[in-house]
């Protein structure tokens, strides 16, 4: 029997705010343990939460970026469970009325565009971090109260690779929107994976297994690649699967039981009485919508279509937004987007990396690249001259035309002068000239080289070729 996997993901990502979700402590990674804490995020007696306005805005913005609805009414709830890293022994989250619902993410998977539907993206507070030492354990509450967005997908994913590509697409969107830095190393993104398998063609879902708390996308991929065959083998060998929560052991490369359904927590959700329900006004939402950005996939498709550039070039401009924006400005009014793309990617980007500069620090604007490509296209300077102009532009700024004038880089396209250089070269090199006359046309390159030498590189190479050919082959 052939089986298929049905996979849904819960992705937690820390929001890019200066302060925590419900207090003024810094949302900052890497500080000494328990230094970014206050009575509120330590759950001291008597404290109350006050929601972070930016976190609310970023949540709604995520909703728009993920094509979600942003409901008129949302609220916070308490999720009750005892654990040392949960300072109040309940977590403030959103249960039945989340801030965003029903959206989707489109992304490239193989040669196709796939869609994973988003059930909801809701806002909650992160918990602290337990550290275990030889004789005791400690809790670092620096992370406690950091705003955390939980993005829940529908079970629309059918493979480990698809999950991997979905996660990367989601991450790109979140980084694009300024929602989260998604720095995996700093634990800013964590995933829970829900997996079941069923015989192909069957519509009912199989028994669901949840794998908790993975902090790399490659770990997710490997866990799925382990778990799906495990489930299939269990079924094929006549066994039954139990609904359970499993843990991914990255070193061993396998999943293991954490707790079964019978031991599942009863979180006893109820509305958080310390916080007012959220009723975003139209004006507030309008303000949020101003921050909606073009999504990576849409940008790529637009670049390919509008500028007729190769997919790899478009990807560069998706991956490096400021470079892409610079390219778009350079291309404005030009017919040669492809060449401009080459200059921006091969020359500009390379030099920026080399010199560790950002695009904002450039001494010239995008119109200079457009002008540079134009004067090369019309033959005013050679490609080689173009390189020299670019180097000068990059180092000292200015306009390409002015640089050409100042440095005498203009190509000679005057037919009289070219004619003279060409005749001189033919007269001085009768052998190669005869070869060309006798049909060995490659020999013309030698003569061309002599002309370029005589003109000290200023002769228009295309015209040199044409003139030599005319003189020799008549």
């Amino acid at each position: 029997m052939e089986y298929e996997a049905v996979i849904g993901l819960e992705t937690h990502c820390q929001l890019k705010t200066k302060s925590k979700m419900f207090c003024g402590c810094a949302n900052e990674f890497g500080a000494d343990p328990n230094t970014n804490v206050c009575p509120v995020c330590l759950g001291m007696p008597g404290v109350l939460p006050v929601p972070n306005e930016l976190a609310l805005q970023l949540t709604a913005l995520t909703g728009y970026l993920l094509n979600c609805e942003v409901p008129e009414f949302a609220k916070f709830d308490r999720k009750n469970y005892f654990y040392p890293d949960v300072c109040k022994d309940y977590q403030i989250t959103q249960f039945d009325f989340p801030s965003t619902t029903t959206g989707y993410v489109d992304f490239e998977f193989g040669s196709k565009i796939e869609r994973v539907r988003i059930t909801r993206a809701h806002l909650e507070e992160d918990v602290g971090k337990n550290n275990h030492f030889d004789q005791h354990s400690g809790v670092d509450f620096n992370r406690a109260g950091v705003p955390l967005l939980e993005i829940v997908s529908e079970p629309d994913i059918s493979s480990a690779d698809m999950a991997y590509d979905y996660l990367n697409a989601l991450k790109d969107i979140l980084i694009y929107g300024g929602i989260s830095d998604c720095d995996m190393e700093k634990g800013m993104v964590r995933c829970d994976v829900n997996i079941s398998v069923r015989p192909k063609g069957v519509t009912e879902l199989g028994t669901k297994v949840e794998i908790k708390n993975m902090n790399t996308f490659s770990g997710v991929r490997r866990a799925i690649n382990y778990e799906v065959p495990r489930q299939i083998e269990t079924l094929e060998s006549g066994g039954t699967l139990v609904q359970e929560t499993r843990r991914w052991d990255d070193d061993a490369g396998m999943t293991e039981t954490m707790r079964s359904k019978e031991h599942a927590h009863d979180y006893r959700y109820f509305p958080e009485p310390d916080l007012m329900p959220l009723r975003p006004s139209e004006a507030w939402l309008e303000e949020v919508r101003k921050h909606v950005v073009e999504l990576p996939l849409a940008r790529k498709q637009r670049f390919i279509q509008d500028y007729n550039i190769p997919a790899q070039d478009a990807e560069v401009f998706v991956g490096n937004v400021s470079l892409g924006d610079f390219f778009e400005k350079a291309v404005d009014g030009s017919k040669n987007a492809k060449t401009i793309a080459n200059w921006v990617i091969n020359n500009l980007q390379a030099r920026l990396v080399e010199s560790e500069l950002t695009i904002d620090e450039l001494k010239f604007g995008p119109e200079a690249i457009r002008e540079l490509v134009e004067i090369i296209d019309v033959g005013e300077i050679s490609n080689k001259g173009g390189q020299e102009v670019f180097t000068e532009l990059f180092n000292n700024g200015g306009s390409p035309k002015a640089i050409v004038d100042a440095r005498g880089l203009a190509q000679v396209s005057d037919s009289g002068e070219l004619d003279k250089w060409c005749r001189d070269a033919i007269d001085a090199n009768p052998g190669p000239a005869d070869d060309v006359r006798n049909g060995r046309e490659n020999a013309i390159n030698f003569l061309k080289g002599q002309v370029m030498k005589a003109s000290r590189g200023k002769a228009n190479p295309q015209m040199v070729g044409e003139t030599l050919f005319k003189l020799l082959k008549g």
């Binding site: 330590l42 001291m44 007696p45 109350l48 006050v50 022994d89 006893r268 109820f270």
Partner: protein, 488 residues
């Protein structure tokens, strides 16, 4: 002049005229505490040095010309229920579980009192985590009713009421979740107001039931209560549920003119169960209001009978979460265990008293999967209906008038074996918390033998504290009850 007997109004006048210093006033309270508190047990703890330091600072400010116009409570000693967080002071909520915990911060009410110049001192007794109606559920022993030491002072703010009535302070700040200010005020014979939900910040108040808790003052008369309320009321950005509404001049709004005032007599409150002597004292108070020009009309609050049940579902549900943080991990007493779960069980098993455990279990139960809809959701619906009753009634009248408690102070131990009987002592006060509206209790007479105070409750419109205090003041000024002083 006996200094500790003064009202806040009298004391501030004497402080202003330099006839009395704040230090003298504070010392008078401390002397009085030394003299009587071994019998009353209102104070759990007391930082004398800190109290005198504050008083001296107030005297220095007064000497430099500071006035009560800017700082309405400058130099006035006020006691605090053991539920408020004061920086570097203990906050036990009358529980063992907090151990030697010292608050690392000042709550907002404490800050406001300090800004108003009050000398805030002492941790007065209460039912553990404000759960109770008699101040018997305290890890620090029971507080006694100053009128009869055999009897309870009411609760949960029993220490506040007792300390005010025993003249160990000039006023006290308590909290009211189901009647915890009004009920002890009635049983001890002082004035206490539960303001509208959102009127006073809850930041720095150890939470019992977040959607019901409200901070309020208790004092010897309506004027003093109004003065204290004015100092602590107002919006607080640290409490999302506090309301950004203007704070009126409560003292300035006091007036004896009741022309055109309509008072509603809720017929559902007047059924069986009220002690006959309390009933007749209450009836006399109603007649007094009529004599003062108020119009009395009977009104109906049809869902009243569900109030106590609704309350005990919602309050315990919220409490079960609010009290989860007392787990021995970060602060307070810890009883070690082999794993976190054992540590929690040991710590909480030892640290919490029976009533607190009972309510945590009840609250956990009503929130659990499969029961949530039948209890919590249903209770929220009933709460809306009770609120609707009040809204409709308060469209017809300016305030509702009821006895505060169906009986007078009961004997210690009398109701401890029957939690349900204890819960019913809040039957007249509980609706006001469910509706989030304001209510005041003031003395309206004494039973003859034994002589015990009887409280009158007035329930007002949302943010109608000024009107409510005015209605209370008119009655108070026409009657002698507020002048009664207990003999200790």
């Amino acid at each position: 002049m006996i200094l500790h007997e003064l009202t806040i109004g009298e004391l501030t006048a004497k402080l202003a005229s330099k006839e009395v210093s704040s230090r003298e006033a504070m010392l008078a309270c401390l002397d009085r505490i030394d003299a009587v508190d071994n019998r009353i047990n209102a104070f759990i703890s007391l930082d004398r040095e800190d109290a005198l330091g504050q008083a001296e600072a107030a005297d220095a400010a007064l000497a430099k010309g500071a006035s009560h116009n800017e700082q309405s409570l400058l130099g006035v000693p006020v006691s605090l229920k053991d539920i408020f967080c004061v920086k570097n002071q203990p906050a036990n909520c009358a529980s063992k579980i907090l151990g030697d915990f010292l608050s690392p911060y000042d709550g907002s009410v404490v800050q406001k009192l300090k800004q108003a110049g009050a000398v805030i001192f002492g941790r007065v007794n209460m039912d553990e985590f404000a759960m109770g109606s008699s101040t018997e559920n305290s890890a620090f022993g029971r507080t006694c009713n100053p009128w009869d030491l055999e009897r309870v002072p009411g609760g949960s703010s029993g220490g506040c009421a007792a300390s005010v009535v025993a003249q160990e302070c000039f006023g006290s700040i308590g909290t009211d979740t189901g009647g915890s200010i009004r009920q002890p005020s009635a049983l001890c014979g002082c004035v206490g107001i539960k303001p509208t939900y959102g009127r006073v910040s809850r930041f720095g108040v150890i939470a019992f039931a977040s959607s019901l808790d409200q901070v309020g003052p208790m004092a010897r008369n309506v004027h003093d209560t109004a003065a204290l309320l004015g100092a602590i009321a107002g919006h607080d950005p640290k409490d999302s549920t506090s309301v950004p509404a203007e704070v009126p001049d409560y003292v300035g709004g006091l007036d004896v003119n009741l022309d055109g005032i309509k008072l509603g007599l809720p017929k559902e409150f007047l059924g069986a169960g009220i002690d006959p002597e309390v009933q007749s004292i209450f009836d006399a108070a109603v007649r007094q209001y009529e004599a003062l020009g108020a119009e009395i009309q009977e009104i109906s609050l049809p869902h009243t009978e569900y109030g106590v049940a609704t309350y005990y579902i919602l309050a315990t549900a919220e409490a079960s979460a609010n009290l989860a943080r007392f787990d021995g991990v970060r602060y307070g007493d810890r009883v070690e265990g082999d794993d976190p779960f054992a540590l929690y069980c040991n710590t909480r098993g030892k640290g919490f008293g029976d009533e607190v455990k009972r309510r945590i279990i009840l609250g956990t139960y009503v929130l659990s999967s499969g029961y949530y809809d039948a209890y919590y959701i249903r209770a929220q619906k009933v709460r809306s209906l009770i609120k609707q009753d009040f809204d409709q009634a308060l469209e017809k009248v300016d305030a509702l008038i009821t006895p505060t408690v169906p009986y007078t102070a009961f004997k210690a131990g009398e109701k401890t074996d029957d939690p349900l009987q204890m819960y019913l002592s809040d039957i007249f006060t509980i609706s006001c918390n469910l509706t989030g509206t304001c209510g005041v209790s003031l003395p309206c007479g004494f039973t003859s033998s034994p002589k015990l105070p009887v409280g009158l409750q007035l329930l007002g419109k949302p943010f109608g504290e000024q009107e409510l205090l005015k209605i209370a003041y008119a009655y108070e000024q026409a009657t002698p009850w507020h002048k009664e002083r207990v003999m200790l």
